[in-house]
């Protein structure tokens, strides 16, 4: 795209790319990705763009939530931060882009108002809060913060009260959550997926077992909220529709797998840490512990673009509100245990300018699977 970060060309095979089972033969170029200035000191847990402005909130294990402003050239500047008492596990923006919420291992959710820069605690759980989302629930006066925690509960918070508006018990610890429009999807341990219709937020609209046989790592809703994508620790991603009549369209695919050069018999399977949907095209990205990310088109069932390894596991990704920037956070995600947490592990956030053809669905016949 011209203008942003200069022009990024999608050169083929600029680096050796570890193509997974994707059928695409195009390799993207990450050489022009720009790193965020002064990233957190420790591993990053989550990054989110503001829905209204060019700001990026970063939650990190160093207990801080930082907010950066990104300008057109990709340069970033730290604008604000707030601290928790424990590692921050997730971050969310309010729909008006004025408030940033952080949740973490201190079992609390805190909010910072970007205008007044005041912070306060707004939620509490019995166990670390793993995910948060801000949703609009019909009938409530303002945005509602939804928090999912390892205490197996999902709570709705109206920011003015200190007790939750509603609480839902889940089958197991909440591992992932995403929402869009009226759809809220909660992924828990034991591979449950709870689908909540926000017009009836107190109960599960549907509960399904994840089609993937391994632990759910992340969920992400389609931009039209008819379904969601699930990523697991076993290098597999599933596309799942909410409504029964669309169940035949469900499918899953393998990704983020590599064959080590010296041994052809085994394949390393990495977990899919993050899935993000492009706000405009409906295509999505997956990012894994292998340090690679790919863009996929779920309707054509093919991969649009693959990118070479970025130098470390990617723990979180997000598209900005227009979809022209794709940010990915690289830091050690402990997938290999604590022994691998060495000094060489980098912690960085990269901003990738999304070229027009990178994330757009290709106008071709859907590939038969």
């Amino acid at each position: 795209m011209s203008g942003l970060f200069g022009s990024t060309s999608t050169t083929l095979g600029s680096n050796n790319s570890n193509n997974n089972n994707a059928a695409s033969n195009s390799t993207g170029d990450i050489s022009k990705d720009i790193a965020l200035t002064s990233p957190p000191d420790d591993s990053i847990s989550s990054i989110k763009f503001s829905p209204q402005s060019e700001h990026l909130a970063v939650a990190s294990w160093d207990k801080k939530v930082r907010i950066y402003e990104i300008n057109n050239q990709g340069q970033s500047e730290g604008k604000a931060f707030f601290e928790h008492e424990g590692p921050v596990l997730d971050v969310a923006w309010s729909p008006d882009g004025k408030q940033v919420f952080g949740v973490g291992a201190d079992k609390a959710a805190r909010v910072i108002d970007l205008v007044s820069l005041e912070q306060r605690q707004v939620a509490v759980h019995d166990a670390p809060i793993r995910c948060c989302q801000v949703v609009e629930v019909p009938g409530s006066q303002g945005p509602i913060l939804v928090t999912g925690s390892w205490d197996k509960k999902v709570k709705y918070w109206d920011l003015r009260q200190s007790s939750p508006v509603a609480t839902i018990d889940c089958q197991d610890r909440v591992y992932a959550m995403d929402s869009r429009n009226k759809l809220l999807v909660v992924g828990t341990a034991d591979r449950y997926l709870n689908i909540i219709d926000l017009s009836q937020p107190q109960k599960f609209y549907k509960t399904v077992q994840s089609p993937l046989k391994w632990q759910t790592r992340c969920v992400s809703t389609f931009i039209d909220a008819t379904g969601f994508a699930i990523g697991s620790t076993e290098g597999r991603c599933a596309i799942h529709y909410v409504e029964d009549k669309e169940q035949p369209n469900n499918f899953s695919f393998k990704c983020h797998r590599q064959t080590p050069q010296n041994n052809r018999d085994i394949s390393n399977v990495y977990s899919v840490n993050a899935i993000s949907f492009h706000p405009e095209h409906g295509t999505f990205s997956t990012a894994g512990s292998d340090g690679a990310f790919h863009f996929w088109d779920k309707d054509a069932k093919n991969r649009l673009k693959g990118y070479p390894e970025v130098g470390g596991p990617i723990v979180s990704t997000d598209f900005n509100r227009t979809g022209n920037i794709f940010a990915y956070a690289v830091s050690y995600d402990w997938s290999k245990g604590f022994q691998s947490n060495t000094q060489q592990q980098t912690t960085k956030i990269m901003l990738h300018a999304v070229a027009p053809d990178e994330a757009k669905p290709r106008p071709k016949n859907p590939a038969k699977r």
Partner: protein, 432 residues
């Protein structure tokens, strides 16, 4: 031959023919059989080297490629193990030999005693009732298959497909025997109908089939019966100039496939004619395959034991062929459930018939329609089968993060440096 078209050679002759343990195809000659085994079953898929036995192949894989061999290529699911050491006809367990003989005999009886009638079985007429067991059509199929094979032989190029086609059709009567282009019912593996083998001729080549399988999966499939039974009746629309296509090698099937695969054909005695015929035909085959009214694509192989002829099991004709090829379709179950071939014949026949689309012996028109359907069915089946077979060959998966019960974040949060102090459960234990 005289009056009696030699569509059904004597039983003894059929029984004497060497046949391949792994894929149940029979051949004219021991040499051909050995060649077939070397090319189809004892061939290294990494380097293409042909070994002599399964044990040899295993050693080769271990020494040269540092991989271990687990299964035999292009073998029937229940014959794909490495335990038995087969070379030509040696090493076949006695019970398997007996079972084979019984199968052949049953097939022969079924096929041999029926007059060749071109008419499609009423039961199977024009319907791709893959699931409908059509026992009665067995003999018809055989005949049709034989006819078809003859036609196919004429049409198809010799195509490499394994010459295996032997026997299978024999009961059906080699094409040659029938004057009319009756397609001998594919007695060939009824089951095979599944494999799409486009050409419908089951690629005797077996392995090769995978390629084309589909379209004909249903109807034409008869040819699929790669295994011995009968080389799928060659589509050979052409009059059976070519000697019975026992070899049917399904030359059609992707001609390319066969071509490579059909080493046997040339060697086959009657193959001599066939190859020529086939070759000439070869160009046509693919199209002709569709066109040619495959005579009972159903492999009439009576003896198609092993052929998972399970009528309806999830395996359609295409899949059957695939299975024959050695690809286990998703529903390997069919095989699993298959009773020993001996009683499978009727089932086989039935399967085959449905699959092959009880095509009337009529020419192409019918074939076309029927093949169309099988093709579509075959395709999904094929893809699913292939997928399955690919999965079987997948490498071992090594999960980088293998703890399914605890998320990485939980582990991290328990570490001392990250632990939330007020609630300090586990101190400083190494995470993950």
């Amino acid at each position: 031959m005289g009056k009696k078209k030699r569509s059904q050679p004597d039983l003894e002759e059929i029984l004497q023919r060497p046949w391949c343990y792994y894929c149940e195809r029979d051949f004219d000659d021991l040499k051909i059989l050995i060649n077939h085994q070397k090319a189809k079953h004892f061939k290294c898929d990494r380097c293409g080297r042909r070994l002599n036995t399964a044990g040899g192949l295993s050693v080769h894989m271990t020494q040269v490629h540092k991989e271990s061999l687990t299964t035999i290529e292009n073998a029937l699911p229940n014959r794909a193990g490495l335990e038995v050491e087969i070379f030509g006809m040696e090493g076949i367990p006695e019970d398997v030999v007996i079972a084979h003989r019984q199968r052949v005999a049953t097939q022969f009886v079924q096929a041999g005693n029926q007059p060749m009638n071109h008419n499609v079985n009423p039961a199977t007429a024009g319907i791709n009732s893959a699931k409908k067991p059509r026992l009665e059509a067995g003999s018809d199929l055989k005949k049709r298959l034989a006819e078809h094979k003859a036609k196919k032989a004429a049409v198809e190029e010799a195509a490499a497909t394994d010459t295996a086609s032997p026997v299978v059709d024999t009961p059906v009567g080699q094409p040659q025997s029938y004057p009319p282009p009756v397609f001998t019912p594919p007695q060939l593996l009824p089951g095979f109908a599944g494999p799409p083998g486009p050409t419908g001729l089951m690629n005797m080549g077996g392995p090769a089939f995978n390629g084309y399988a589909p379209p004909y999966g249903q109807a034409p499939t008869p040819f699929q019966a790669p295994s011995f039974t009968s080389p799928p009746v060659p589509f050979g629309q052409q009059p059976f100039e070519a000697p019975p296509f026992q070899v049917p090698q399904n030359a059609y099937a992707p001609p390319s496939q066969y071509q490579t695969g059909l080493p046997n054909i040339p060697s086959r005695p009657f193959g001599a004619n066939l190859p020529d015929a086939l070759h000439q035909v070869s160009s046509a085959p693919p199209p002709s395959m569709l066109q040619t009214p495959r005579p009972n694509s159903l492999p009439s192989a009576p003896g198609l034991p092993q052929r998972p002829s399970f009528g309806a099991p999830s395996v359609n004709a295409f899949q059957l062929q695939q299975m024959h090829q050695g690809h286990i379709p998703n529903s390997s179950l069919p095989y699993a459930d298959q009773p020993k071939p001996t009683n499978g014949i009727p089932a086989l026949a039935s399967n085959v018939i449905p699959a092959t689309v009880s095509q009337p012996p009529q020419p192409s028109v019918q074939l076309q329609t029927s093949t169309e359907i099988p093709k579509e069915e075959a395709k999904p089946a094929e893809s699913s089968i292939e997928k399955r077979s690919k999965k079987d060959k997948d490498k071992d998966i090594k999960l980088v993060y293998s703890d399914n019960d605890i998320s990485p974040e939980e582990k991290l949060s328990k570490l001392a440096r990250y632990a939330f102090h007020p609630v300090r459960q586990e101190a400083a234990t190494a995470g993950a």
